[in-house]
């Protein structure tokens, strides 16, 4: 046993929690790097916001980083409700509800189809399933433009060309590869025994899907939703090719605002329109940011 004085002397050594320097080299490195990176990512947003609050004369002065001297919301108003496309001068507001009408069923249907596919691939393997899945992954690499005409022909043949449902189907088709991959990997990471238990309990394909798998997979559905909402909301090509003027989505309007050049571009309106258009997906990120990470962490990216 150590002597009493030895004990006393020992007490002088390090004791308790290791002192953590606030400005340790490690912290400086981590926060420094993240700070710089955040700057790189945030800078464009800053410029967009600042610009959208300036008047055109101020923009012409040049410094895009300078905060607005005179804040004006005119560009926002214009982008939302005044900017013209051809004869329609209702700004983005005209396309907003169209976008909603397109996005909601498209997101819903594409996720429904892909999740069922992923589930069938993960849990109910049948001969040839891999071959189809491989083709699907291949499909992820086909440029959309290439498929424009074949899809027009397909839609014409099934009589859905020009209808909202035609567009919804197109979005479902092009969302299918990545989403199916996501869902397949997620479902196969769930314990197989659960699936077996449900079969013993007499549940069939759909019963297991709806009663067992679905309730356990909400996070991955959120992930899929975020990817799809972003993709579909921002889509221009399909939105404009497979719809009609009165159902054009917001992005057509955005394209018109951004690409109609008159003298000097109205950057402030462009920026305001841009932010307005991105607002919906952005909102979904902010709201579900935490779920996003947790969803993938729950196995979405395994395999």
């Amino acid at each position: 046993m150590a002597g009493a004085d030895a004990v006393a002397s020992r007490l002088e050594g390090p004791q308790g929690p290791k002192p953590r320097k606030r400005f340790s080299r490690r912290n400086i490195f981590i926060y420094g790097t993240l700070g710089l990176v955040a700057l790189y990512y945030a800078l464009p947003l800053y410029v967009m916001i600042v610009t959208s609050l300036k008047g055109m004369p101020e923009i012409r002065l040049g410094n895009i980083f300078a905060p607005p001297v005179e804040i004006t919301f005119q560009p926002w108003v214009k982008a939302w409700s005044e900017a013209c496309t051809g004869l329609n001068c209702e700004g983005l507001s005209r396309g907003f509800w169209n976008s909603v009408r397109i996005t909601v069923p498209s997101v819903f249907l594409s996720i429904a189809i892909a999740s069922v596919n992923g589930y069938a691939l993960a849990n109910w393997k049948f001969k040839g399933a891999e071959a189809f899945f491989t083709i699907l992954i291949f499909g992820a690499f086909i440029p959309y433009q290439v498929m424009l005409y074949p899809i027009v022909i397909i839609l014409r043949e099934i009589g859905l060309y020009g209808s909202l449902w035609g567009l919804v189907i197109v979005h479902s088709i092009f969302g299918m590869p990545i989403l199916t991959l996501l869902f397949r990997n997620y479902f196969s990471s769930l314990p197989e025994e659960l699936f077996k238990a449900a079969r013993v309990d007499g549940a069939r394909f759909w019963g297991i899907y709806f009663q067992i798998m679905l309730p356990m997979s909400l996070p991955i559905f959120v992930v899929a939703m975020i990817i799809q909402v972003t993709g579909i909301w921002n889509d221009f090509l399909f939105g404009v090719v497979y719809t009609k003027p009165d159902t054009y989505p917001m992005t057509v309007q955005l394209n018109n605002i951004v690409n109609s050049v008159q003298g000097v571009k109205e950057y402030n309106v462009n920026m305001a329109a841009t932010i307005l258009t991105g607002l919906v997906p952005l909102t979904i990120y902010f709201v579900s940011g935490k779920l996003f990470v947790r969803g993938i962490a729950a196995g979405a990216v395994k395999g």
Binding site: I137, Q145, G303
Partner: protein
């Protein structure tokens, strides 16, 4: 062997097969069908509209019935490999491919590296993780059109970053990647990474969170520095994440189009052209579908050669998960 009651194998898993019909139809009709269609029409001289490759000729009309038996074909607009010869003789196509290779390689490597490093930094139990993550992720909410626009602007030498820095007294400063043919593709890369790395980071972060904590402890007890632990231990363990990420990044690269159009329109000159834009321009601007299809076919062929064997190995041979 007694096979009493053995059901027809076709009907086993019937629900699964029914449920997979959308996938099967998409795979066969859209992806395979569309691809075959594209390949076939790449041998034609189609311009604005797809033109028939050939037509059947009916030599026999049987009796009074208007029943005709096709017995021969007449080539209509078949031009053999002419479109391909022209394609490979076109400077712009060559430049496009070079650009895609450079962009693809850089984008792939940098997406992985940046995405991973950011994820690793965020994984250090830091404060404000949520804030940092959101800042890095938000560009993903913006379309490429918008991304291109914003960065075109930031990189504009007359009032973007260059002019601001010059304005601060650094007169010789030059940073105009979009106006310099030899580096323009890197200018595009800056914007592409800005938009896309957030998603990659989030995927990686999720992957990191799935690593067994005991591995970290083992490495610390072994006295292995953190960077080595990442490089030699953690990264190899994250293979599944990397595969999903790889598919997402790679498919994005092959299809890159909007960003280029919005940011440079392929300029200056043709120095930032990419294959998908070549396809689009020839199909719709140049009204030469045949040429566009030939270019698409080359792209699809390249993708197929890489993807199909790989995907089959990756997804096909495994039992489960």
């Amino acid at each position: 062997m007694d096979t009493t009651g053995r059901p027809n194998p076709l009907f086993r898993n019937l629900s699964a097969k029914i449920a997979a019909i959308p996938m099967i139809v998409t795979a066969l009709v859209v992806f395979v069908g569309g691809t075959v269609w594209t390949v076939i029409y790449s041998f034609t001289s189609s311009k604005l509209l797809p033109r028939k490759l050939f037509e059947w000729t009916d030599l026999f009309n049987i009796g009074d019935w208007s029943l005709s038996v096709p017995t021969g074909i007449v080539w209509k607009s078949f031009v053999g490999l002419q479109q391909y010869e022209r394609l490979w003789g076109t400077n712009r196509w060559i430049v496009s491919i070079e650009n895609l290779l450079i962009y693809g390689l850089c984008s792939l490597v940098l997406s992985f590296v940046i995405g991973f490093i950011l994820a690793a930094l965020l994984d250090q139990k830091i404060r404000f993780e949520n804030t940092f993550r959101t800042i890095i992720l938000y560009p993903f909410a913006l379309s490429f059109i918008v991304t291109g626009l914003v960065w075109q602007w930031l990189l504009n030498p007359d009032f973007g970053i260059q002019s601001v820095i010059r304005g601060m007294g650094w007169v010789g400063f030059t940073f105009d990647p979009l106006y310099n043919a030899s580096i323009v593709i890197y200018g595009v890369l800056i914007a592409g990474l800005w938009q896309g790395t957030g998603l990659i980071m989030v995927l990686m972060l999720a992957g990191l969170r799935g690593i067994d904590q005991e591995i970290w402890k083992a490495a610390r007890v072994d006295g292995i520095p953190a960077w080595k632990t990442y490089l030699f231990i953690v990264i190899p363990m994250m293979r599944p994440v990397f595969i999903t990420t790889l598919v997402i990044i790679a498919s994005g690269i092959v299809r890159i189009y909007d960003l280029i159009v919005a940011q440079t329109s392929g300029g200056p000159g043709i120095s930032s052209e990419v294959p998908a834009k070549y396809v689009y321009d020839y199909m719709f601007q140049g009204q030469n579908l045949g040429q566009g299809f030939a270019a698409s076919t080359m792209m699809l062929l390249a993708v197929a050669i890489v993807i199909i064997p790989w995907a089959y190995l990756e997804f096909g041979s495994r039992k489960r998960g």
